[in-house]
């Protein structure tokens, strides 16, 4: 059913990989816009480092979430290895489930974190720092959710040893999501 177009690779790069990098480039610019705006606003407002603003984010929770995402990325790498070098679909799928699980844990911790913050009056409209905080972390979280869904779909196919090349591709996407968090973490949690 697939067009012949999908079987060619004139550029040397597989089409799937080209497509994923295209998606990542477009996401870099989107997150770049959000974070660039945040950084410019932060520079213009000295007070944002204090309590009630960035001073009230919980760096320990942030750190935990960083660790969770990095670990899940590790599982993604192991899944890629299993798919590409061992040709072991079920094994790759198991690693993908673990990766998605890491994403799920990340989201649970974030839900707890946000509930606490909102309970203390640090809502999206509390001040502009918190507006940026929720938008940046929220757009990131939506990408975590999307990544998890795609990962589960890929895992379902991989379990049957189908489309194993997609394990690497979804892994690349997941590493990007991880990388965005690596930028968010110091910007939102450390810079006080």
């Amino acid at each position: 059913m697939r067009p012949v177009a999908t079987t060619r690779s004139t550029s040397g790069m597989t089409t799937g990989r080209l497509a994923v990098w295209w998606v990542i480039c477009s996401e870099i610019v989107i997150f770049g816009g959000i974070l660039g705006s945040y950084i410019m606003s932060r520079i213009a407002h000295d007070g944002w480092g204090h309590i009630g603003f960035a001073g009230s984010t919980n760096a320990y929770i942030g750190l935990t979430n960083t660790f969770v995402l990095l670990t899940s990325s590790l599982f993604a790498v192991l899944g890629h290895y299993a798919a590409e070098h061992e040709q072991d679909g079920p094994k790759a799928a198991r690693y993908l489930y673990l990766t998605a699980g890491g994403g799920g844990l990340f989201l649970c911790i974030k839900a707890f974190e946000w509930t606490t913050e909102i309970g203390h009056g640090l809502t999206i409209t509390a001040n502009n720092f918190w507006s940026f905080y929720y938008v940046a972390a929220g757009v990131h979280a939506s990408h975590v959710i999307a990544g998890m869904i795609i990962m589960l779909i890929v895992a379902q196919r991989a379990k049957k040893n189908l489309d194993l090349h997609r394990v690497e591709l979804v892994g690349v996407y997941w590493h990007f999501v991880d990388l965005v968090w690596i930028f968010l973490f110091p910007l939102l949690y450390i810079a006080k």
Partner: protein, 578 residues
């Protein structure tokens, strides 16, 4: 439209294909040609809406307060919504879908010699998201409070606070529609890039790719690389509108000028995003109808890359007097004047293609040449605006408006008609009527100039934009400013010309109707003796496009090659071995 001649090996499991129902064939297709038609029809329908809006607000300007036939009396709020949505529709729902999505989808697989896009389902999804965005936009006109009226640039705080814009629902729907359109084109871009880079026919090196394909590919890259910050801005604006955050509200510590930077960082590359495909079509047409290679193919390519890169450095020339640090104006005036160099180069090279050619003025060639002549006016008038000092006077006047219509109209309208009349035989298998084509051409281009040349004059006289009636402005109602005409006379002239131009569009639709009604597919696969691969496929191409996928042996512009003259022909198709 797509006939079901399936002779291609790779489609063994398509036994049921000839019986595809209406829904599967027309609404749920993954075939790039059908998706192209969906984009084309939607884009043209939106063009009718955008054109109607122009008719209404120009009638208001020419005859203030008078009941406009087909609309009624235009209130100031309605006027603002009309100009806002005219601009928004023409850029996002006409220029982009027709030039990039419709032609890109139709042409790219054909011109590079393969059978479809690489990701047909994502392709289909991109159209569906696009259609949704169009529906959301149109719905914004009918909600309580009416459509958004804060100009297509949507500067906050006006666009962010409903107490200021008085269109709470319309404003949010407008932003959501634009954001959805962006997503649709990001999805579409995936296919253009991967297909053009990866699925080329064997033998097609990078320098053998037709300019139309290159241009659409580079346009997609420019779009993708520039739209991100505006998506970020749109998210922030939606939150300002709905949750009352303060990203752009100075009362809450936000900055209205931040939006401007996010908007124009995208907004400026965007004009090149739509320019490039039109330039691509012009390249295909002028080479075919002057029987000559494109003059300096590689130069064109490098200037396109150069323009693309430079386009990211000029954005704040839209913001010279908006409250940015005045020192920044120096940087942006330099970059803006610099970008005129590669563009001028491209124009010179295109014109040089005509030198020593053998030119036939068919309808597509007329459109392509008109593009060059009219865009030249648009381009040179941009210099006045890119120079920071003069822009103090020109900013927000009708001079700006005339400048960008002398660029956008060639791009979106002339470029579309050039492409449509040129590839119509390939799309439908039938030749259009040349006489009707020429009547439509002249009936569009002459009135076009009569609309916008007066507007240059009005701009030079200091008339500002987005004002629904000039009757309250004594200095803008002067008599005898040009050839005995007063300023209001010029407005009436422009409106009259617009009505005439819109009327002539019926000739185009008549041509379409008569052509489609023809029983016989009289075009044949290569009615122009052209070189690029789409002219190998049947007209119209069937599912799978080519009976046998071609191999490429040379570039796309080998016209009048001395070796071929010996054989008595003046063209050398890319697919012919000898």
């Amino acid at each position: 439209m797509a006939t079901a001649e399936v002779t291609h090996d790779a489609h063994d499991d398509h036994g049921h294909h000839a019986d595809a129902g209406f829904v599967k064939k027309y609404l749920w297709s993954t075939d790039h040609k059908m998706i192209a038609m969906q984009y084309l029809v939607t884009g043209m329908a939106m063009a009718l809406i955008g054109g109607f809006f122009a008719y209404v607000f120009r009638m208001q300007l020419a005859f203030p307060g008078v009941d406009v036939p087909g609309f009624g009396i235009v209130s100031p709020a309605e006027y603002n919504a009309l100009v806002t949505n005219h601009g928004t529709i023409m850029i996002f729902w006409v220029a982009m879908p027709v030039l990039i999505a419709a032609f890109g989808n139709f042409l790219i697989p054909l011109m590079i010699g393969c059978d479809d896009m690489v990701f047909p389902k994502i392709n289909r999804l991109s159209y569906q998201v696009f259609l949704l965005s169009a529906i959301v936009l149109v719905s914004s006109f009918f909600v309580q409070g009416g459509g958004f009226g804060g100009a297509w640039t949507a500067y906050p705080p006006l666009s962010a606070v409903s107490a200021y814009n008085l269109t709470p629902l319309g404003s949010t729907l407008w932003v959501v529609a634009v954001a959805l359109e962006f997503v649709a084109f990001l999805l579409g871009g995936i296919n253009f890039i991967t297909t053009a880079m990866n699925s080329r026919a064997p033998g097609m090196r990078l320098y053998d790719i037709p300019m139309a394909v290159w241009m659409i590919v580079v346009a997609s890259i420019l779009f993708m690389a520039s739209v991100g910050p505006l998506i970020a801005g749109a998210i922030m604006l939606i939150f300002d509108q709905t949750l009352h955050t303060g990203f752009f509200d100075p009362a809450k510590g936000g900055d209205p000028v931040l939006w401007q930077h996010l908007f124009w960082f995208f907004g400026h590359p965007e004009v090149y995003v739509v320019l490039l495909p039109a330039l691509g079509f012009v390249a295909e047409i002028i080479t075919t109808f002057s029987r000559k290679p494109l003059f300096a193919y590689r130069t064109v390519l490098y200037t396109v890359f150069g323009t693309g890169i430079l386009s990211f450095t000029v954005w704040a020339h839209h913001q010279f007097i908006s409250g940015i640090d005045p020192r920044m104006a120096h940087i942006f005036t330099i970059t803006t004047l610099l970008i005129s160099v590669p563009i001028a180069e491209m124009m010179f090279v295109y014109i040089a293609t005509l030198y020593r050619g053998s030119i036939t003025l068919t309808t597509p060639m007329l459109w392509a040449l008109a593009f060059l002549g009219e865009f030249l006016i648009g381009g040179v008038t941009g210099i006045f605006l890119g120079a920071s000092g003069p822009d103090i006077f020109y900013h927000d006047t009708y001079f700006v408006l005339a400048h960008f219509h002398y660029t956008f109209f060639p791009i979106a309208i002339i470029g579309s008609f050039a492409g449509l009349t040129y590839w119509w035989p390939k799309i439908t298998g039938k030749m259009m009527n040349e006489t009707l084509g020429k009547i439509h051409f002249w009936g569009t281009v002459i009135p076009f100039n009569l609309i916008f040349l007066p507007l240059f004059v009005l701009g030079q006289l200091g008339q500002h934009r987005r004002i629904y009636s000039y009757e309250g402005f004594g200095e803008l109602m002067r008599d005898d400013v040009l050839l005995g005409m007063g300023m209001q006379d010029l407005r009436i002239l422009a409106t009259t010309a617009l009505v005439v131009m819109l009327a002539f569009q019926f000739v185009f639709f008549l041509n379409v109707f008569l052509t489609l009604r023809k029983k016989e597919k009289d075009a044949g696969s290569n009615p122009y003796d052209a070189n690029s691969l789409e002219w190998l496929a049947p007209s119209p191409p069937g599912h799978g496009n080519f009976a046998e996928l071609p191999t490429v042996y040379r570039g796309p512009y080998e016209y009048s090659h001395p070796d071929r003259k010996a054989k008595g022909t003046d063209f050398w198709p890319q697919w012919e071995k000898e």
